[in-house]
């Protein structure tokens, strides 16, 4: 019926395609700067499991070897809680990769446009469709890319 952009980290489905005012808690366009893309890799130092958006803190190593902490804006934790994820599902020390755009206020904040583990698998994605934790029993479970 419709085609979707190949790589888009957010839904452009039926709801948005028929002219209903698409909305979210805030307009990402108001907060983030399209001229300042970022790729952040590092270990999580803290997860703020809060509404309206969870914030994941990541210690990113800079070119000179020092580290700086970035805050990555995510979605509402309620959705994940209902699928069985808890505060223990993403712990400090876990290394992640995030791409997004820096906030317009130039603080070390960015949107979590795509948040993955270093091998590219998505955070919080288990067996497809159900969102249940990975247990290898779901034949449709995304396979890890070859290393």
């Amino acid at each position: 019926m419709r085609s979707y952009p190949a790589v888009v980290p957010i839904a452009f489905g039926l709801f948005l395609a028929v002219g209903v005012p698409a909305s979210a808690h805030h307009a990402f366009g108001a907060e983030f700067d399209p001229n300042r893309p970022v790729l952040l890799k590092g270990a999580i130092t803290k997860v703020e499991w809060v509404n309206p958006h969870a914030w994941i803190h990541v210690a990113v190593e800079k070119d000179d070897g020092t580290k700086e902490v970035w805050m990555v804006e995510a979605g509402t934790p309620n959705t994940l809680l209902r699928r069985g994820f808890t505060k223990d599902s993403l712990l400090p020390g876990t290394v992640i990769t995030v791409d997004g755009y820096q906030s317009k206020d130039r603080s070390n904040r960015a949107n979590g446009r795509d948040m993955t583990f270093p091998d590219g698998t998505k955070l919080f994605m288990g067996s497809s469709g159900t969102g249940a934790p990975k247990d290898g029993k779901d034949p449709t479970e995304p396979k890890k890319p070859k290393q």
């Binding site: 957010i10 979210a24 108001a30 893309p37 949107n111 993955t116 590219g120």
Partner: protein, 352 residues
């Protein structure tokens, strides 16, 4: 009558028995018991996709295709990304609407249901049932003008995001001058997309509602943003001067249907485009053990050229409705305003 036919009739009667014998549970005062937690998520949109024209119902195949499309999308977006990927493009990724040229966040945060909704055994193309084409009626001329002004001012909310303080060049107030100019959702005053209503509409996530009912009050707790609609029964509306974020609601029973009438809205009701002249009538009827039929009629003669109506089911759920404290961690709001100040300062510097 031959034995097999008798047997078949007996079996059919047996199959029908549960629906015929179901009676609505009642509270001690005799009214239907609407209390419970409900999930209002559905893939059926408010407005009907154009290809269905005046058709209110989907065939089983059409419904399956929509649900499969959603499943395919979620599976596509669940696939691993390139571990060697680079930062997204300078100048933006072109994403539309509120994703504002910078993208949003991963699909696993979204929870807008997996099925189109069904009433009387038939799946629906849209929530809107009147007008017959399933579309919102045309806006009045005045409302069209207001909408155009708003679209031009709130460009970043509509996807036009250049990362520049373009508004310093225009006459009059800019979109970020005052916190009170910002959308109610952004300010954590109401959930976005009319999740609170009235009328209550499905949104991208957190579609749970909890109904608590007594003889004199019905309360609808909306998960996002912890909005509680307190609806007194058999009472007059508050004086016109008293305006409320979700309007002033009063209810009464018409037979086994709870009818809720809401007026006294502020200038910006949760319902997109509506004004302080909004009037909403909602009807709640428990039609099955696990289902409330939710119907509503909207009128605002200063916005729409005629009233419009919709309906969809609220389906009971065992899932818990969670707290949604919003202000405390609404870091985005400060970031948006600080960002605007910084971009304005840069624009001023360039003009020197």
């Amino acid at each position: 009558m031959p034995g097999p036919i008798l047997l078949a009739l007996a079996l059919m009667a047996g199959q029908d028995a549960p629906s015929k014998t179901w009676t609505v549970p009642r509270t001690p005062d005799g009214h239907p018991d609407l209390s419970g937690t409900y999930d209002t998520a559905t893939l059926t949109p408010l407005e009907r996709p154009a290809q269905f024209g005046d058709k209110l119902f989907l065939t089983a195949e059409e419904a399956a295709a929509i649900e499969k499309e959603e499943l395919n999308l979620s599976e596509d977006l669940a696939r691993p990304s390139d571990p060697e990927r680079e930062a997204p493009p300078v100048g933006g990724d072109g994403s539309p609407g509120p994703y504002g040229n910078v993208g949003g966040y991963n699909f696993f945060w979204i929870d807008r249901g997996t099925e189109v909704f069904e009433l009387d055994g038939r799946r629906r193309t849209s929530i809107i049932v009147d007008p017959q084409n399933g579309q919102l009626p045309p806006l009045t001329l005045e409302a069209s003008k207001r909408a155009a002004v708003r679209r031009a001012l709130y460009k970043e909310n509509a996807g036009e995001n250049t990362g520049e303080a373009w508004w310093v060049e225009i006459e009059g107030p800019g979109p970020y001058d005052d916190p009170e100019q910002r959308p109610l959702g952004e300010r954590c005053l109401l959930g976005f997309g009319s999740t609170s209503g009235p009328p209550s509409l499905p949104v991208l996530y957190n579609n749970l509602k909890r109904i608590v009912q007594t003889r004199d009050y019905v309360v609808i707790l909306v998960e996002m943003v912890h909005d509680a609609r307190i609806i007194p029964l058999h009472r007059e509306h508050a004086p016109k001067e008293i305006q409320k974020w979700m309007g002033d609601s009063v209810g009464h029973w018409e037979g086994d249907t709870l009818v809720v009438d809401t007026t006294n809205f502020g200038k910006t009701p949760a319902l997109y485009s509506a004004s302080e002249n909004l009037h909403v009538v909602e009807r709640f009827t428990r039609i099955a053990e696990d289902t409330i039929l939710y119907q509503f009629t909207v009128e605002d003669p200063t916005v729409w050229t005629k009233p419009w109506s919709g309906e969809y089911p609220w389906v009971s759920t065992d899932a818990p409705l969670y707290e949604y404290a919003c202000h405390e961690a609404n870091y985005s709001f400060g970031g948006i305003l600080r960002g605007a100040r910084l971009l304005e300062a840069e624009a001023a510097e360039r003009r020197k």
